[in-house]
């Protein structure tokens, strides 16, 4: 899909969520769904297989998000998947999150961790990243076991890597 079309979808989702008044919840839920989509081959195949009818793919989305997300989130993802744009779902959602953060004058900070962060840790991390980058950040925590330990924070083009996985990889490389 072209950049313009991805941007068009993102803007449409953004406007719908803002009109519904659920922008914060929707962008947070969709961000988590996009990360799950990226990490699961089975989910990706199920939502992008052209041989599977659109209503079946939408049924998969509803069964996954039905009781875990707002109705707006479910309907937006279902719309994208039903229109055959499932392959571009992460890009559309990332653009939506960026647009939502920009509307609040925030920078998106994606933080990957092997374990969940407490609210206190998220608050302190948000403040630390804001101090480090000079921007208030919209913190998005992704649970990623491949990190092994520590955190990897990405704010725009800046990557702050404090993960055990990277250190182990560096050690392996030296070996």
């Amino acid at each position: 899909m072209s950049e313009a079309r991805i941007e068009g979808y993102a803007r449409a989702l953004f406007e719908i969520a803002r009109a519904e008044g659920t922008l914060d919840e929707v962008e947070d839920e969709l961000f988590r769904f996009a990360r799950a989509y990226e990490s699961s081959d089975a989910l990706r195949n199920a939502l992008t297989d052209e041989m599977v009818p659109a209503d079946r793919r939408q049924g998969v989305v509803e069964s996954l998000l039905g009781d875990r997300a707002t109705a707006t989130s479910v309907q937006l993802v279902s719309m994208v998947v039903g229109s055959g744009r499932g392959r571009d779902l992460p890009a559309i959602i990332d653009r939506l999150v960026a647009r939502a953060s920009q509307s609040k004058d925030l920078a998106v900070a994606e933080v990957r961790s092997a374990v969940a962060l407490s609210d206190d840790q998220q608050g302190r991390l948000r403040a630390a990243l804001a101090d480090a980058t000079g921007h208030e950040v919209n913190l998005k925590v992704v649970i990623d076991p491949s990190v092994v330990g520590g955190l990897v924070a990405t704010v725009g083009d800046t990557v702050i890597d404090g993960s055990v996985r990277t250190r182990v990889d560096q050690l392996k490389s030296r070996l």
Binding site: V115, R124, A128, A132, L151, A153, I160, G162, V164, K172
Partner: protein, 181 residues
């Protein structure tokens, strides 16, 4: 008519002869004149043909002498040619032998040089193979050590990264990011 015939005919009496050997004077004169005439005629008419025959014979003998000399010269020339040819053959044989010796020496030298080069190449290749094998074994050993170390480090991490360690890592990260501003 000679004296014997005259005597036999009885015209001369040997007893009345002046001399038993010498004729009479007139006869001597006439006889001499006749002989001179005969000799003169012979000289005049038979002389040229005799001289010609003699000259022809002389020329023939001279021609035969010349032919003999020419044949001798030709034979000597041919003999010289044969001797020179024999000499040439000998020198050609010497040249061919020398050339064959030179070629054999060159081939021998070239063969030795080629063998030396091949031996050097084989030695270099063997050394290179040996070094490559050693390097390959070293690389395989390093790879295996790295793999084992990675496995061990993953196991150690899995065993040691409990919840408190995870929290410590997270707090450490937050502290570092906060202090870097």
């Amino acid at each position: 008519m000679n004296l014997s015939a005259l005597i036999a005919a009885g015209e001369i009496d040997p007893a009345r002869s002046i001399h038993w050997l010498w004729p009479a004077a007139a006869e001597l004169i006439y006889g001499s004149l006749a002989s001179i005439l005969i000799f003169g005629l012979l000289f005049k008419f038979a002389g040229p043909s005799v001289r010609k025959a003699m000259a022809d014979r002389t020329a023939k003998i001279q021609a035969e002498l010349d032919a003999s000399a020419e044949a001798r010269s030709s034979a000597e020339t041919e003999a010289a040619d044969i001797r020179r040819a024999a000499g040439d053959i000998d020198s050609e044989r010497q040249r061919l032998l020398a050339e064959a010796d030179a070629q054999a020496a060159a081939m021998l030298s070239e063969g030795r040089a080629r063998l030396t080069a091949e031996i050097a190449e084989l030695e270099a290749r063997a050394e290179a193979d040996q070094a490559a094998a050693a390097s390959r074994v070293g690389d395989e050993l390093r790879t295996e050590i790295s793999r084992l170390a990675a496995e061990v480090s993953d196991r150690l991490l899995a065993d040691t990264l409990d919840d408190s360690a995870q929290q410590a890592l997270i707090e450490n990260f937050i502290q570092k990011v906060g202090s870097s501003s």
